[in-house]
């Protein structure tokens, strides 16, 4: 049962119950919808970009504990970052949740996001953990069509 606790770490449960930046952003200049057609998870990510900097970011929608916590923590980690930094963080995060044996130093790059280390043991849940990030990427690119994890 240790594995389940690896997936549902306290921090993740806490974020899923009380997600941060869970609101519509009135002055958003970018937004995108993300959708996981297999499980019905659906999020909207709002972005307020100041040049190439994420001045503010928020999200709304419904999903499982993993997808909601991931969205919540994503907003915290990319706020104040440049677009390039945010994109690089997603790259690290994606590799982290899809690779089973984490190298030392992986967690360091991710900071708090390292609580998602358990996801790699649950391949069916990788899409939950990355949905908000894919949606963020779509918002950065101003995609009109909803992105899906498929």
């Amino acid at each position: 049962m240790a594995e389940l606790r690896d997936l549902y770490q306290e921090v993740i449960l806490e974020h899923s119950k009380a997600p941060r930046n869970y609101k519509k952003l009135a002055n958003a200049n970018h937004r995108a919808e993300g959708f996981n057609p297999l499980c019905g998870d659906r999020f909207t990510v709002y972005l307020d970009l100041d040049g190439d900097k994420v001045r503010d970011v928020s999200f709304e929608g419904s999903g499982c504990a993993i997808s909601k916590a991931s969205a919540s923590m994503m907003t915290q980690s990319v706020k104040g970052k440049t677009i390039a930094e945010a994109e690089q963080l997603f790259e690290h995060f994606h590799k982290f949740v899809t690779t089973q044996n984490h190298a030392e130093g992986d967690s360091a790059q991710l900071g708090k996001l390292a609580v998602f280390s358990g996801v790699s043991e649950f391949p069916a849940r990788v899409k939950c953990a990355t949905l908000a990030w894919h949606t963020l990427q779509a918002a950065l690119e101003d995609k009109q069509e909803p992105v899906t994890t498929e």
């Binding site: 389940l4 606790r5 997936l7 549902y8 119950k17 499980c39 019905g40 999903g63 504990a65 939950c128």
Partner: protein, 423 residues
Amino acid sequence: MTLAAKAGLAARAPNAHAELDVQAIRAEFPILERTVRGKPLVYLDNAATSQKPRFVLDAITRYYEDENANIHRGVHYLSELATADYENSRVRAQRFLNAAKSNEIIFVRGATEGINLVAQTYGRTHVGAGDEVLITAMEHHSNIVPWQMLCAEKGAKLRVTPINDRGELLLDEFEKLLGPRTKIAAFTHVSNALGSINPVRRMTEMAHRRHIPVLIDGAQAVPHMAVDVQAIDCDFYAFSGHKVYGPTGIGVLYGKAALLDAMPPYQGGGDMISSVTFEKTTYNKLPYKFEAGTPDIAGVIGLGAALDYVTDVGMDAIAVYENELLEYGTEKLSTIPGLRLIGTAAEKAGVLSFVLKDIHPHDVGTILDQEGIAIRTGHHCSQPVMDRFGIPATARASLAIYNTREDIDALAKGIERVREVLG
């Protein structure tokens, strides 16, 4: 001699009217011996696909080991054997549905292909601009999208019969929606997401009074109850083999011979023709007109074995047993705080769909999986049903003949575990 006779059904005595011996049945499904994540497998995802008994697996192996050959072609011995077994399965499917003739049984890949076949042949010749196709709010995507595609092509309109909060069809509304422009009514026998059983006989009668033909999606019905297409009087009935203990990739479309005869072919190719020249092709007679190309011979033989198997267990005994189990499960789950059953129709079969307060079904599924319990989570290919109930998804436990009260108890305990982990 048929495959079934050659193999002899399992040691279990013929049982058509007796009570179902679940332990004997369990022993006939090899997969039930395995563990999942160190726990005995509790398989409750039967509405997605059922497990296969040894009898079916042996029939498929025997075909490949002893008589593999193409059908309807060879003059050689093996081809004759394979053809006989293939056609025997057609007779079994005919008896299973109580169809009037064996040539009313078309082998298709599954219920989905059966519905597409009707939409693309009968539908394309009979539905025109301004016409209507009537479905219901509890359909699987497979009985929505083929009609939507047809309607888009023809400029026709898709009409949808509403359901109530228990997941029951509003029969009066159905009758009202059968209008002068309705060209076909297509509805499910049993809802995959809710378990509701539709009054298909009455619905067919209502449609026929207005000379509207009826297609029934029987994918979720045939594993759970005896189906008699002549008693229902439906024009088309489709089901998938893999949900009734047969292999994947094979299913049946039943159609009344007069309608099938008048329909254009679905796909062109070998076996569906009588003669071909570059100027003109004459199509084969029923049922071959609709079976282009080398079919899934092993699948058809496996399906025949599966239909023999459930017939031997007894469809009435299955219905009684599963209904008791469903009642037990409904009671058991209803006592769990924060659990809401989705789909509480008076007439139900095989499905316990539920949501837990503040816990997403996906998380329920992952935690149950750690306990060796397999259920389905998500929208069950029925997004409009989810929308109707204002939920993104449900967790769904679905029953089969090998499930026991212990399986339900394990599910209830697993849900407690979910609440512990996520509570």
